[in-house]
Symmetry: C2
Subunit: 415 residues, 2 copies
């Protein structure tokens, strides 16, 4: 039997057993995992060094190697993250609502695990811990498939997590990592209908595209973010400036950073010089349309391609628009349905923007950078969904659950 | 431009406009649709006759032709169904919850349309109306693709619906039917990423399989139902008999009818003759395991294949099991996660069954036949989901919605 089929099979069986594991046992297992990660940090670092050596030999670029690297401090942070998940309340078993039908049937909607969750991810080995413990907390069996660059770290981490969790009463088979990191196996994983109840890809465009095209199991698409800030005619320009700078420069590499600035023509003469000078001071490359350049010429040209691009870098595209309708039309055409902000003091415009912009999160007078499970108060995040089905926006514990109707009768039959 | 791309494009644009259409306008449109269907019943019947003629020429079997046939009475029923949907409360715009973060951000979870919903279905032309009005009520644009057998009926119905809806203020392009009923076009529809936010197949195994294998857009899988009734050692046998007969024979052709009966060995000597005689009286073919046959021999043999089969007919598979654990294991192995019932007066067994059986709906002391949007009190049903993602069990209006986070700030930036 292939590794994949074997692990899918044991995960499925473990998934059924996990339904009956109580929260106390799960929390004890999470505490045991947190402790084991700290105690065995040396082991993890040793395995991680092999991955780093390989990465250096393969000429992987520095930023990637930094993301791959685990230190004692980083491991400490990771295990603190596990304790945070432990402290969250367990959504499983909650009866969301219950009602009585005229025939006396009591129908309850109960939160249950998905069953088996597969996660395909790249580079960062901390995702191995995050994903495993979020699945464990929600009574889901997990099948993790990380990238080849981190395989030694991931295997070492998974071994420690398994030993700790199984020792604390979690059914064996609940936690799995696919050691074969070939592309073929990943594609096969995407087609394991009957075993996988939910597949979450976490990574770059290439991975997401491959999953969307190949997967036959249910998928939640995550996290491309081509986000906009629109500065309306009625904006407080000082507030707008702060929000644009924050959304673009506070952490440009992440999906909720802004990529395009839209400015209403009515305030462009005043705002464009303000914001361009401030962006330049922060070393942001500006790619602007002709109208903006007629106000402030010392910037590059924006092409249509730019408006489609998620730079994840110190680059911003700019366009002057003729009112809120053009702003909304531009956003709905070019965005990836992630996070969009308007800066305005106009009530009607704020409501129109909130209603008509199609995105997981729409903001009035705040930075797009808040789209995040922690910032939203969910206490955890498995990713940010950019699809509308099942989960949208930051995915907390609830997005790893399904529901089941429990029906209490006393002999009802249908007439 | 192909018909498909053209209709997907106009549906997408209409989807954006539909977000801003208020409930009053939608309800007026639904009333106009109901009235138009009644007034133009002759037109529909004329088109339907062409389909029936073709079906007869093609030697389609009688039961199928009956499902295809529209009469004045059936059209009246269909338009009453439209008025029922009108009377339901509109889920769109509801803010499910809203909370305040420590930094003052107010975050609300608001119910929004999916956008564009595609539905691929077979035979029955009443689905054209059902699907169109459920999408309309939830502000979704729809793209319907019915079977070739009903294409004339479907086109006539859609024309009437469009005229009525657009005349009542619904944006043009909101309601679409694909006139090209080729398999290639259906497969292409399953891959229209960027246009289709949700695809729901309604039909037989072949259709569902094709959608699961080919679709790259988000899908909700519906409605194969291999349902079980388990009669526990502590069952009230009279109640059990009524429930088994109802679940099997009240309407055997539907997905929530029972296909397999499991009987606890402790009560088998008493219950097997009772239930077999009663089933035979209802002309149900019994396919039983050896143990059952040793009690009541005049029945057919059950194979492993039988336990996997959704008969949708007057046939039942039977197996005697050694206690609730074997019953649950059997169900979780053979079922399609649809509807499962236990008959028992044992408290512990009832809870165990509700917790451990993996299905959209689990029943204690009631017939599986209640798994239905109307019986559950949702007032409508677009299908019954047998997957765990997004929607599970009977899908009412809420399952045609997504959420969006609306965030109210006063200048918040992320530190």
């Amino acid at each position: 039997m292939s590794e994949l089929i074997e692990k899918c099979s044991i995960a499925k069986i473990a998934g059924y057993k996990l339904v009956s594991v109580d929260t106390i046992t799960k929390n004890n297992a999470l505490e045991a995992i947190a402790r084991a990660l700290e105690e065995k940090a040396e082991e993890i670092i040793k395995a991680n060094n092999i991955d780093i050596d390989n990465a250096e030999k393969n000429g992987i670029r520095k930023a990637m190697i930094d993301r791959l690297t685990l230190t004692k401090e980083r491991i400490k942070d990771i295990s603190e993250g596990v304790r945070q998940v432990k402290s969250l309340s367990d959504p499983i078993g909650e009866v969301v609502k219950m009602w009585k039908r005229p025939n006396g049937l009591m129908i309850g909607q109960k939160r249950v695990p998905m069953g088996v969750i597969a996660i395909i991810y790249e580079a960062r080995p901390n995702v191995t811990v995050d994903a495993a413990v979020l699945c464990l907390k929600t009574s889901n069996a997990c099948i993790l498939r990380g990238g080849s660059e981190a395989i030694n770290s991931n295997k070492a981490i998974m071994k420690i997590i398994q030993d700790a969790a199984y020792g604390a009463g979690i059914p064996e088979g609940a936690l799995n990592i696919i050691e074969d990191t070939s592309r073929e196996t990943a594609t096969q994983l995407m087609k394991m209908n009957g075993y996988i109840d939910l597949l979450i890809p976490r990574g770059g465009k290439g991975l997401i595209k491959s999953v969307v095209e190949n997967a036959t199991v249910p998928v939640v698409e995550t996290a491309a973010g081509n986000c906009h800030v629109y500065v309306d005619s009625d904006a407080d320009l000082d507030m707008a400036l702060k929000i644009v700078l924050n959304a673009k420069t506070q952490r440009p590499s992440v999906c909720n950073a802004a990529e395009t600035l839209l400015v209403d023509t009515a305030i462009a003469d005043e705002f464009i010089p303000m914001v361009f000078n401030a962006l330049k001071e922060k070393n942001v490359e500006i790619r602007a349309d002709k109208k903006s350049k007629s106000i402030f010429s010392d910037v590059n040209d924006a092409t249509d391609e730019d408006y489609y691009t998620e730079y994840n870098d110190y680059i911003i595209a700019v366009k002057i628009v003729d009112g809120i309708d053009e702003a909304i039309a531009h956003i709905n055409k070019y965005n990836t349905k992630h996070s969009e902000a308007i800066v305005t003091n106009n009530y009607e415009h704020s409501q129109k923007f909130l209603n008509e912009v199609d995105a997981a999160a729409v903001y009035v007078n705040a930075s797009t950078r808040f789209t995040d499970g922690f910032e939203f108060g969910f206490g955890a995040e498995i990713g940010i969904s950019t699809q509308k089905m099942h989960a949208r926006g930051p995915m907390g514990l609830e997005s790893l659950t399904s529901i089941k109707y429990v029906v209490y009768g006393d002999g009802q039959i249908r007439e």
